[in-house]
Amino acid sequence: MTHKLLKLLAPVSLLLAGCQPDLPASADGLLYCSEGNPESFNPQLVTSGTTLDMTAAQLYDRLIDYDEDEHRFRPALAERWRASPDGLRYTFFLRSDVTFHETDYFVPSRNFNAQDVVFSFNRWLDTEHPFFAVSGGIYPFFSATGLNQLITRVEAIGPHQVEIELKEPDSSFLATLASDFAVILSAEYAQQELQAGTPELIDVRPIGTGPFKFGHFRRDVAVRLERHKDYWQGQAQTEQLVFRITPSDHKRMLMLLTRDCDVSPYPPARDIAWLEAREDITLQQATSPNTAFWAFNTEREPFDDPRVRQALAHAIDREALLRTVYFGHATMADSILPATSWAHTPMSDAFHYDPERARELLAEAGLPDGFTMSLWALPVQRAYNPNARVMAELMQSNLADVGVNATIVSYEWSTFRRHLAAGLHDSVLIGWSADHADPDNFFRPLLTCAAKESGSNRAQWCNPQFDELVQAAIRTTDTEERMAYYALAQTLLAEQVPLLPLAHSQRFQATLNHVQGIKPPAYGGIRLYPAYRLQQSPETKDAL
């Protein structure tokens, strides 16, 4: 019977194998399986890594870039730059050969110039700017890093020269300019949409100078980008770039195996060893500076009491989390700052696992019988946390041991972020991946009063003493001095525990062998511009 069936199926299988359709040249491209929908197509408006992956390095360019290998800044849209001796004025000399995307909704009449830079900065700097309030008027990265307070003036002093004036010297200024958020938009396109009465479209149908231009977005299905033929660094090798929206990590891995994806970020941690063993898949990793943490909403009772927060920190067995959630592909976090940073000061005593101590602290805080709280688990996989759901379940049982009853809450990613920014949570499992190399990136965007205003302070924590320390650290360029300030800031965090650092993990990315040239980024979003496809004959395809 089975023999007959096989015979019957044989011609069918031939037919099917034969018709894995060879795509026509116009349909050449790269399939990148993404973890969620983009919130916007303008990186200025977001902080989520998913959106950055799809937009920042693909659609846009920045004035300068950061070279991860050589640890220095390199020219991008600005050919060169100069800082005044007092560190208060920066002059950028811009390229003149850069073109904006030409699409069916916008045809640029001129090349990139200083007006575009002034527009892109003033959009989020100047609250009176016609585009400031378009798309909500919230620029989380810039307000959290205080860049909108730092820059006093952006002016075009020539067609291809821009001067930026700062309120005070800032040692992280260039690093923030090289981050994924400081993209350059088209002033001409903005003007066109403003006249048409649809200014909000500039963030929905983007125009930039990047290697790819916007094609089409269908929610829950895919984002399609097309090659920008006149890209100033030379056109990309792939004709199209499609981000397929696939929230499940398991599904993404299956799709990699069935060739429905070429690249899949964040493979399931439990399958990493197995993927490594496969010959048709390349598994890459980047030690991206990131931290997973558990933030308490310090505005709500009982989390406004530091003793309660300390107690909860001692209640969690982080060793077990590392084993179960990361399968050993992470190190335990002893500070919000990863150990790779020069300013790292470990505070292991403050966070170690000690349920006895946790119960004592709870009793001291007047809660000997425990309480009930919500524990929000982020719904997508991030480099810093491959599976927040499982982590939340483990923590739930840890918390039950000290008498705290936690309920796990989760939403779709964009809803989740909106509710978080509104402070509707008791506590949340989330994390942070560095946008640039400066240690400041782990303090000001995450825990200052300004960050609370902008909605990126997950702990809703505002401590003037802490703000002073990190401000002082940024005002000087002397590394020794900065290190001392950061050590003090980290000590303060260990006492106050607005959040419990959990782990620093590696970012993994699985790629089919025929796609070459890309690597997982250490900072910010992925760059798919260098990707190319190895030409392969049909025989090798069958052999795989």
Binding site: L16, D22, P24, A27, R218, V242, T258, E412, T415
Partner: protein, 342 residues
């Protein structure tokens, strides 16, 4: 027959009214602000007051209900709480995708089920019958989600015959016009139409097979049992005695009589199929109604849940009434039963 049609029509209207009442009551049944639940406009939104007024929330419940039905009829189904997009616009693209999947599966089940059942019945208690019965019984006992995962594992991961997500290879630029991929192909660029068709068919095979399984085995079992019953009837023996060939007996007496109870059950098979569509769409990332509805339930996106329920229930209802009409039209004794009751 006109009485039958009238009867079915009045049934349809009454059920639709009940359905709209139920759906409207969800506006209050869901937790939170009723205005937000039905329109997706939150209290902070500048147009909130205006929406509240046009939907009649400042007036009595019956007025609110009438306004609700008016909005439904106008295609103003509110906006999604997740992304503030109009619910109807999203339905317009997703519903055809779901219809495509369900009708192809139902078609496949109807094409294969009854013939297999007849073959089994004609070989009653012979090896072919045992094989078909065993197959249908095991098919009946496999849960859909498990069968879907199994088929993905075998046909997609191991054999690499089929893709497992979406309607088409997204590198092929087929803009969604109707939402149903086989129709959208005609709007695509002619140069890629051939390849796109191949790709679309490949994407359809697994979900259609998975979905067709349950109605298929149901139809096999029903047809087989009905056919066995008919075969025992005296008129069948009489037909053979009159010297008719087996084909003639089956075509004129056997099959038409056996199909009567089967026809009545097609509606049931369709309802089961619709429930399975939700799961199948999630597993195969099919951009249809089911996939969206499941996520909206998870997200507590009430305007979408409300609209989705109305749409799915109406579809099942219409299909059942259609089948009842066919049934009554095709089989006079059914009409007589109805007349006798009234």
């Amino acid at each position: 027959m006109s009485r039958v049609i009238l009867r079915q029509l009045s049934l349809l209207i009454i059920t639709l009214i009940l359905l709209s009442v139920l759906s409207f009551s969800l506006t209050y049944g869901f937790p939170g602000d009723p205005v937000t639940n039905s329109s997706g406009i939150s209290a902070e939104h500048p147009t909130y007051e205006q929406v509240r007024e046009t939907r009649g929330f400042d007036r009595s419940i019956p007025v609110q209900y009438v306004r609700y039905v008016q909005h439904l009829a106008r295609g103003d189904w509110g906006v999604s709480l997740q992304d503030a997009q109009p619910v109807w616009e999203e339905f317009r693209l997703r519903f055809p995708a779901t219809l495509e999947l369900t009708f192809l599966s139902m078609g496949l089940a109807l094409l294969l089920g009854p013939p297999l059942g007849i073959i089994a019945a004609m070989n009653y208690k012979r090896p072919i019958d045992h094989a078909i019965t065993a197959l249908s019984l095991s098919g009946y006992s496999i849960p859909v989600f498990w069968f879907a995962q199994l088929s993905i594992l075998i046909f997609a991961v191991v054999l690499e015959w089929f893709p497992i997500a979406g309607q088409i290879n997204p590198l092929l630029d087929v803009p969604p016009v109707t939402g149903a991929i086989l129709i959208d192909l005609f709007y695509a660029d002619a140069s890629i139409r051939g390849v796109a068709f191949q790709s679309a068919i490949q994407h359809l095979i697994l979900p259609v097979l998975v979905l067709a399984l349950v109605p298929l085995v149901l139809l096999i079992r029903l047809t087989r049992n009905a056919m066995i019953d008919v075969n025992r009837k005296k008129f069948m023996k009489g037909a053979y005695a009159r010297g008719l060939s087996t084909t003639e007996v089956m075509m004129t007496h056997g099959i038409p009589n056996a199909m009567q109870p089967v026809t009545r059950q097609i509606g049931t098979a369709f309802s089961i199929l619709m429930t399975n569509t939700l799961i199948t769409e999630v597993i195969f990332s099919w951009p249809g109604l089911g996939n969206w509805l499941v996520r909206s339930i998870y997200e507590r996106d009430y305007p979408v849940i409300q609209g989705g329920l109305v749409l799915l229930a109406t579809l099942i209802l219409l299909f059942n009434i259609f089948i009842s009409l066919i049934h009554a039209w095709r089989y006079p004794q059914v009409r007589q039963e109805i007349y006798a009751q009234s």
